[in-house]
């Protein structure tokens, strides 16, 4: 019988869960938990703002598939963690938040740094729990990790009062059975219904204009290999949503890339014209569907999702399959092989494929290179970055135009190399996520693409990167504006620019980067782009920030205006004259 404090039990429980990294910032109520950390094998990364800790945990989870852990104190620290928790909830990222809480006797008295953390985070976690006894800590930790990583992954939170951390308990580690027994209402279904899978295989073998509509669920299920098998078997084109970029190589001609509001014109159009959407782990997000009533009107739908509530939430599927994307796709492959061996053949997909190639040739996702002496085109900077990126580079992004350009112009060749905030659209995600990703994959080069608006929200974490020696690289596309908002005001508010101009002079990003211990480089002309990137790639002991001064007029095309049908998408201005060929 080993006696220990709740704090020791907490850290020991995290070790038992194979946690190697905690992102956090100590404070009053969580203090007891920081003491045993000194003896622990766990690496703690001291952040500059608790939001950074949360996004780092997410970045870590994105690239490793293991839950990221953020530990912060009570009150304002817990509320600062709310944004990353919601972000992780929207994007189904496994993450465990640990917050300090005022002592049990003080709960409800409006004590110093008290807040109702469990109440506040109820709707932005998959599950949360206030631990009221030191004896309960190991079970609470096990349950939090179990729930965060199984079924549809997501964030969980454990709120631990200070006296619970200080009190003594007798150590025990609950068994799997005990964990299961404590959760009678939690039985995620991973195996798809065999009859539904048969039905899906039949539909796939009949479809004349099928598309694989692949979402983040395939990455969560680690199903890239079986996706490859399915594509090789059927020859069906793959659409990779913003959350699924990397699950299938962009160099494969069957990959159509990102669809939707800022998706490739040929990708969005192919979905509109499809007669069968095979949705693997995507959720018919509004950024994909446009106006739901006119989305892919001719398509039957097979929907594979581990979350039963996603079935029929937006689009009623013809064949709903609740289950783990990898297990279901494996079964689907078996069924298709069985049908093929039984002599069933797909219709000739030739006409459909040639339509897609036609759209693709005539409506490539494009931009116009800037005239000499004019500001840089952000797409050009990204293309150069991609050209020169070491193999296996992980790309993270903030939210806005630079995010869409990254998804459109980067070529992803392997899974878990793209980290971004899709569902919540959290500006400032890029830098802390990159630091978390670098902690998870120290062997990889991590480039954080950022906008100037985003950069100013979380740049302080570059101090963390420097002090903790986690070298990342930042490509700051500085167009002096909140670019995406500016684009909407230009296009839909008669060029009435309201509160979107940040500044062309301030801050001085090079000086700022240098003051945080980074190498700062400013790039203003096209010929400087490649040398700057090469220099950045050659520096591996410090974080490098390259500020690219980019054209503030540049807009993201294609675009489906909000609330409109995907049939109404706006192509790049240079393609407007032939717009009617897109049908």
């Amino acid at each position: 019988m080993t006696r220990m404090t709740g704090a020791q039990a907490l850290i020991k429980s995290l070790e038992m869960e194979n946690v190697d990294t905690i992102f956090g910032l100590p404070g009053g109520c969580i203090l007891p938990a920081y003491d045993p950390l000194l003896e622990s094998s766990i690496r703690h990364v001291l952040v500059r703002h608790e939001q950074g800790a949360g996004h780092m945990a997410e970045g870590y989870a994105h690239v490793t598939g293991r839950p990221g852990v953020a530990m912060v104190t009570s009150g304002p620290a817990a509320t600062n963690l709310v944004t990353p928790l919601m972000d992780a909830y929207m994007d189904s990222i496994p993450m465990v938040g640990i917050t300090g809480q005022v002592a049990t006797g003080a709960i409800g008295t409006d004590a110093f740094q008290e807040c109702d953390t469990v109440g506040i985070t109820r709707s932005c976690t998959k599950h949360n729990e206030l631990v009221m006894s030191a004896d309960d800590i190991p079970m609470a930790v096990r349950v939090a990790f179990h729930i965060a990583t199984t079924g549809r992954p997501g964030p969980t939170l454990i709120d631990v009062p200070k006296d619970v951390l200080e009190n003594e308990m007798t150590w025990y580690w609950p068994s799997d059975d005990e964990v299961k027994a404590s959760l009678p209402g939690y039985r995620p279904n991973t195996k798809g219904h065999p009859r539904m899978i048969k039905e899906a295989a039949k539909l796939i073998m009949q479809a004349e204009r099928p598309l694989l509509y692949v979402g983040g669920g395939m990455l969560k299920a680690r199903a890239a290999e079986v996706l490859r098998e399915l594509v090789d078997l059927t020859g069906i084109h793959v659409v990779t949503t913003l959350m699924a970029r990397g699950v299938f190589p962009d160099s494969d001609p069957l990959n159509l890339g990102m669809p939707g509001m800022h998706g490739n014109a040929y990708t969005t159009t192919a979905m509109q014209q499809s007669d069968l959407l095979i949705n693997l782990g995507a959720r018919f997000d509004d950024r994909i569907t446009g106006r739901v009533g006119s989305f892919a009107p001719h398509a039957k739908v097979i929907h594979v999702d581990i979350d039963p509530a996603e079935q029929g939430k937006v689009r009623k599927p013809d064949v709903p399959i609740v289950g783990d994307c990898r297990l279901v796709t494996e079964e689907l492959v078996k069924e298709i092989i069985a049908l093929q061996e039984g002599g069933v053949a797909q219709p000739d997909l030739g006409p459909w494929k040639s339509r897609i190639s036609g759209w693709r040739e005539q409506f490539p996702t494009t931009y116009e290179q800037s005239e000499p002496g004019n500001a840089l085109k952000p797409q050009f900077c990204l293309e150069q970055l991609r050209e020169l990126a070491p193999e296996g580079t992980i790309l993270t992004s903030g939210v806005g135009q630079h995010q869409m350009w990254s998804s459109l112009h980067w070529k992803f060749e392997e899974p878990y190399t793209w980290v971004n905030s899709g569902g919540l659209g959290t500006m400032g995600f890029s830098i802390p996520a990159a630091i978390g990703a670098k902690m998870g994959r120290p062997d990889r080069t991590v480039w954080a693409v950022d906008g100037d608006g985003c950069f100013q929200m979380t740049a302080q974490e570059l101090v963390t990167a420097t002090v903790e020696r986690i070298p990342i690289k930042v490509a700051l596309l500085n167009n002096s504006y909140l670019g995406m908002v500016r684009q909407w005001q230009e296009m839909f508010y008669d060029e009435r620019y309201s509160e979107v101009y940040l500044s062309t002079e301030y801050p001085d990003y090079v000086k700022w980067a240098e003051s945080m211990g980074c190498v700062g480089i400013r790039v203003e002309s096209p010929e400087e782009v490649a040398p700057a990137i090469e220099k950045a790639n050659s520096i591996n002991d410090r974080t490098v920030v390259i500020e690219f001064r980019t054209d503030s007029n540049e807009k993201v095309f294609p675009m489906v205006p909000a609330g409109r049908s995907n049939d109404d998408l706006l192509v790049h201005p240079t393609q407007t004259a032939i717009r009617d060929r897109l049908a």
């Binding site: 209402g185 539904m196 039963p308 709903p320």
Partner: protein
């Protein structure tokens, strides 16, 4: 967003009997789910169930705000929710309790007493200018009683919200929600 509608007696109301683990905050989880997703509740009643550590929440939902299937699936995502049964009003017994204090002087008291007698309500307290009555029964009956009482001037009224269980005759069927079925719904039978 979530409004508690005054009457739940529309013909197509749906009753969900939700078995939950009796953990701190479980009611808040259920209530905030309805608020967060914009679903409306007609009534909600909660009390410990037959199994130790479990509570049963009876919710009458307004399916005009969201399809019932989506409400059930979202509810089932709550970790503390163990079982959801959708009770068909035609195949369930439903009960509710009403307490009302009515303004009435001595002269007209007999009219209230008469009404109470017809409805088999109980008279709980009588004062010089008011009386308190209680009525237990089917929610529709309570609606009628309340309407007649309101003509007399109700000072205060409290209804419990309905509770319901499946009827026992001929093994009444109810839909039981389990996570293992393709759409999260299968037919089950009452024990």
């Amino acid at each position: 967003m979530t409004a508690v509608n005054p009457k739940g007696s529309s013909l197509n109301h749906h009753i969900l009997s939700v078995l939950v683990q009796n953990r701190p905050g479980v009611l808040a989880r259920v209530a905030s789910l309805f608020a967060r997703r914009g679903y409306n509740i007609y009534s909600l009643a909660v009390a410990p169930a037959e199994d130790e550590g479990m509570s049963r929440i009876t919710i009458v939902v307004d399916v005009d705000t969201a399809p019932l299937e989506q409400i059930v699936k979202q509810l089932f995502k709550l970790i503390d929710v163990v079982k959801i049964s959708e009770l068909d009003p035609r195949r369930s017994v439903e009960r509710e309790l009403l307490l009302a204090t009515v303004r009435v002087d001595v002269e007209h008291r007999s009219q209230i007493v008469e009404l109470a007698t017809i409805f088999e309500a109980k008279m709980l307290a009588v004062g010089p200018d008011a009386m308190t009555v209680s009525l237990e029964g089917h929610p529709d009956k309570l609606d009628d009683f309340e309407e007649l009482l309101s003509d007399r001037g109700i000072v205060e009224l409290q209804r419990t919200g309905r509770v319901a269980l499946p009827k026992l005759d001929r093994g009444a069927h109810l839909r039981v929600n389990t996570p293992n079925s393709p759409r999260g719904n299968t037919k089950g039978t009452v024990r």
